[in-house]
């Protein structure tokens, strides 16, 4: 059998260092989100997104110049997809008469450079109210999923396990969003779906370790808590690495083969999966330790 024999890492002893690292990363993410802000897609921001496919390569600048006289306000022209596909995405912000703009733009292209033909592959129009409503819905969905999992873990395991799991999940979501701010990638509904998947999936790792801890505790009563947890993590290490590996393979494939929204989905999953593994080992378990060790002391203070 191929296996990792005799590998033992002192996860828990180095606990404080890793927790600090996490806190910094999360803090950085939140700071970036507040200052630079997330690049929201059309479905969250409102406005219109048009996806055109041309018969030959077209320069972004040329299209911009063609569209200038239409007074479209603040709009963006971007190449998307693979270069040989000649796809361009035009994003417009919320304005009067938005619905008629796609026909007007189509006409402008038709009367523009004569030698190129095009097709409108996709058109998405979102009213201002719809965009804001969607943002609220997405945030609510993420929070609800956190709560559901909190309840579930509290019910299946010792209640002291739950806060650790939730903090790990919040950590994962914030770090993934931070990744989006740094890379400037667009956050669309598909990305929110990735976030929710990460929430559900990242907690898997956490549960496997918790399960092992739960099993080992009665067996290793003579050992201090930290030791038991360290052993549990090491024991489940091979499983953790392998399952993360398989998901990782899949997710990298999505990232490489996907385009546009799908590539962003892959990106979110990659950051989320990495963060998930990290948070399971270095955030969830330490939180449990803190609660178990300092819990009684805090309760005593309360009374």
């Amino acid at each position: 059998m191929i296996e990792l024999k005799g590998f033992h890492f002192e996860f828990i002893r180095k606990m404080r260092f890793f927790l600090l690292l996490s806190a910094l990363a999360v803090g950085g993410s939140v700071f970036l989100m507040a200052t630079k802000g997330l690049n929201f897609g059309t479905d969250f921001k409102g406005g219109m997104k048009l996806l055109y496919r041309f018969s030959r390569p077209v320069a972004e600048g040329d299209l911009r110049r063609l569209l200038e006289p239409l007074n479209l306000g603040d709009f963006s022209v971007q190449k998307v997809g693979r270069p040989e596909e000649n796809r361009m995405a035009i994003k417009l912000e919320q304005q009067e008469g938005l619905e008629t703009l796609s026909t007007k733009i189509g006409e402008t292209f038709r009367t523009g450079p004569g030698d190129v033909s095009f097709i409108l592959e996709q058109e998405e129009t979102v009213g201002p109210k719809a965009g804001a409503a969607l943002r609220k819905k997405a945030t609510l969905a993420i929070i609800v999923s956190w709560l559901l999992i909190l309840i579930y873990i509290g019910y299946r395991f010792d209640f002291a396990f739950a806060p650790g799991a939730i903090i790990a999940l919040i950590h994962d979501v914030l770090i993934t969003l931070g990744g989006f701010v740094v890379s400037g990638r667009e956050v669309s509904l598909t990305v929110v779906a990735a976030l929710l998947t990460i929430v559900g999936y990242s907690v898997n790792d956490t549960i496997v370790i918790y399960d092992r801890i739960r099993e080992n505790l009665p067996k290793m009563q003579k050992l201090p808590l930290r030791e038991v947890i360290n052993i549990s993590i090491n024991e489940t290490l091979s499983r953790t690495i392998i399952t993360n590996l398989t998901v990782f393979i899949v997710v990298i494939l999505i990232y490489l083969f996907g385009e546009g929204e799908f590539q962003n989905f892959g990106f979110a999953m990659i950051v989320g999966a990495l963060s998930g593994t990290y948070s399971t080992i270095f955030v969830a378990s330490p939180c449990y330790i803190f609660l178990k060790e300092y819990g009684p002391r805090i309760r005593a203070l309360w009374k």
């Binding site: 129009t125 969905a141 579930y152 598909t190 496997v208 996907g258």
Partner: protein, 563 residues
């Protein structure tokens, strides 16, 4: 000795596999010859909008419109009913831009009798409000709510009928909340036309032109009003309303200005509008139509109308009494044409000629208009909230790419599992393939919609599916290392890993549930494939691989576990 449940488990697995294959036949072999095809179910896996192409639009019913229309109807009714009474009011009018109805009295002493008459006849419909010189009525809250609800339901039905007639395969028309409606039309090749069909209000009115004010005078006053107001260059409802309120006092009280929009025949761009001074009251309306059809005269398609008895009677009376005057045909607030009445028209037939254009496009316009008029007008205007149009080519590209990713992913994982877990790994691989089959089969059986994120969900399931197997195998390795015999290690492996497997998959399933609840369209597709994937993963990991393991150990009587 093979364990007791082995036979049951194997039978179950084989049954599910065959069932899935059975339901997938139509999808995999779309061209089965007629006779053979009848043996298999007719359902193909449904493709979502983003894979098939089509249009999805969310509209909001302008409820204020509906309430005002209702008020209009009620005020006409009151006027008619009170005509013969001694305390008949001088005028019954809906207050513009409100739902209130104002009755101007002939004598102040009539107030009491009118009030009690209203209370008697419109008990839960109207309530009286304080007013000085007139009787002011408004719709009760309960009635207003009822009207609003009715309006949305009616809009839903009208849209449904129009789309039915239009003949779109599998449209999905759903009411969202209090006043929104979503329409999904897959495979639509002409989204603009479909959208127009949905949004066209379809209000047809025949109104007399007020000939007391000469045309140039009308044009001058309108030009004045336009110059003083900063208005967009269109003739939409808001613009026209603004012009009319600016001209209050300058035009007779029972008239309003409406425009005939003019288009350049080549570019179809709006070039201007001719103002008409029309009477507010519409003597003949679209709900008096018996039928509307497309006819051709001199190679020009037009819509021919035929009124019912009431309509014919009113139309005849109208034309008889107003020979020499112009009668405007008003469609959705825009004047279509205003021909001069040459003589009485007793037949109850009328025509609507359309603008300029080639034969084909005119014919199409006429067909659509006739359809809208036949099915009836919308009770209120619809405001477009969200619209997504997807061309079919994008969808096919996406499918191809999605399938490619799935294949590569599956291949890589299969190779890895075989190398790392050897024979057990191969068993997990077979289980994986079966897993994918079951997911697709479930999609076919439940007629769930496969969207592009849904394909991502399947790919993700491939990655997560091995997780359960890994848990079991790692556990088995541990047990073996601890010195247990093969058969015991097998049992212990499955038993101990079970709780972790269940818990971790249930939480991912919970995520899927949240996604399903909060998501729409494509995201729901993702949630569905994710959830189905988890169920099938649990089944294949727990039941199927165990069958193989047990067969090897007990059936083939091997001594050692290969893991």
């Amino acid at each position: 000795m093979i364990t007791k449940n082995w036979r049951t488990k194997t039978l179950l697995t084989v049954a599910l596999t065959l069932l899935s294959l059975y339901f997938l036949v139509p999808t995999l072999f779309p061209e089965t010859p007629g006779g053979l095809a009848r043996l298999f179910p007719a359902k193909v896996i449904r493709l979502g909008l983003d894979l098939r192409g089509g249009i999805y639009v969310e509209v909001e019913v302008e409820l204020e419109d509906a309430l005002k229309n209702r008020s209009d109807l009620i005020s006409s009714e009151i006027k008619r009913l009170l005509e013969k009474e001694p305390f008949a009011p001088q005028a019954v009018e809906r207050v513009p831009e409100s739902t209130e109805i104002e009755l101007t009295l002939k004598n102040d002493s009539d107030r009491e009798r009118i009030s009690s008459w209203v209370r008697e006849n419109y008990a839960n419909v109207l309530a009286e409000k304080r007013a000085e010189k007139t009787v002011l009525l408004d719709l009760t809250e309960k009635f207003a709510d009822q009207t609003k609800d009715m309006a949305v339901r009616q809009a839903l039905e009208t849209i449904r009928h129009r789309i039915d007639r239009y003949g779109v395969a599998e449209p999905t028309i759903v009411r969202l909340g209090a006043n929104r409606i979503s329409v999904e039309l897959p495979g639509m090749t002409d989204p603009e036309r479909a959208l127009k069909l949905i949004k066209t209000a379809g209000w047809l009115e025949f109104r007399l032109v007020d000939e007391t004010v000469p045309d140039e005078e009308v044009r001058r006053r309108v030009a004045e009003a336009l110059a003083s107001l900063q208005l967009p260059e269109d003739y939409k409802a808001e613009t026209v309303e603004a012009i009319n309120s600016k001209l209050k006092g300058k035009i007779p009280a029972d008239d309003e200005i409406l425009f005939e929009a003019q288009y350049d025949p080549v570019t179809k761009r709006l070039t201007g509008g001719i103002p008409y001074l029309l009477k507010r009251k519409a003597d003949v309306t679209g709900d008096m139509l018996k039928s509307a059809n497309v006819d051709v005269d001199n190679n020009e398609p037009y819509v021919s109308l035929s009124f019912n008895n009431t309509g014919t009677r009113l139309f005849a009376a109208l034309t008889a009494a107003n020979v020499g005057k112009r009668l405007a045909i008003v469609l959705d607030g825009n004047v279509s044409k205003a021909p001069v009445i040459k003589s009485e028209i007793p037949s109850g037939n009328a025509q609507i000629t359309l603008g300029y254009g080639d034969y084909a496009s005119l014919h199409q316009e006429a067909t659509d208009l006739a359809l809208v008029l036949r099915e009836g007008a919308l009770p209120a205007r619809l405001k477009e909230l969200t619209k997504t149009v997807v061309g079919p080519s994008l969808g096919q590209d996406s499918i191809r790419r999605g399938v490619r990713v799935s294949l590569v992913a599956a291949l890589l994982i299969i190779v890895f599992m075989a190398l790392y877990y050897r024979l057990s790994g191969m068993m997990a691989n077979i289980a994986l393939l079966l897993n994918i089959l079951l997911v697709l089969g479930a999609l076919a059986i439940f007629q769930a919609t496969l969207t592009l994120p849904g394909i991502a969900g399947i790919v993700l399931t491939i990655g997560m599916a091995v997780d359960a197997n890994v848990l079991i195998f790692e556990r088995m390795r541990e047990e073996l290392r601890a010195g247990r015999a093969a058969k015991n290690a097998l049992q212990a492996g499955y038993a101990n890993a079970m709780s972790a497997i269940l818990d971790s998959n249930i939480t991912t399933f919970l995520s899927g549930v949240v996604l399903y609840q909060f998501g729409t369209g494509p995201i729901r597709g993702f949630a569905v494939t994710l959830m189905i994937g988890i169920v099938t993963t649990l089944f294949t990991a727990i039941v199927v691989t165990r069958i193989f393991q047990e067969w090897v150990l007990y059936g083939l009587k091997r001594e050692r576990l290969s893991v």
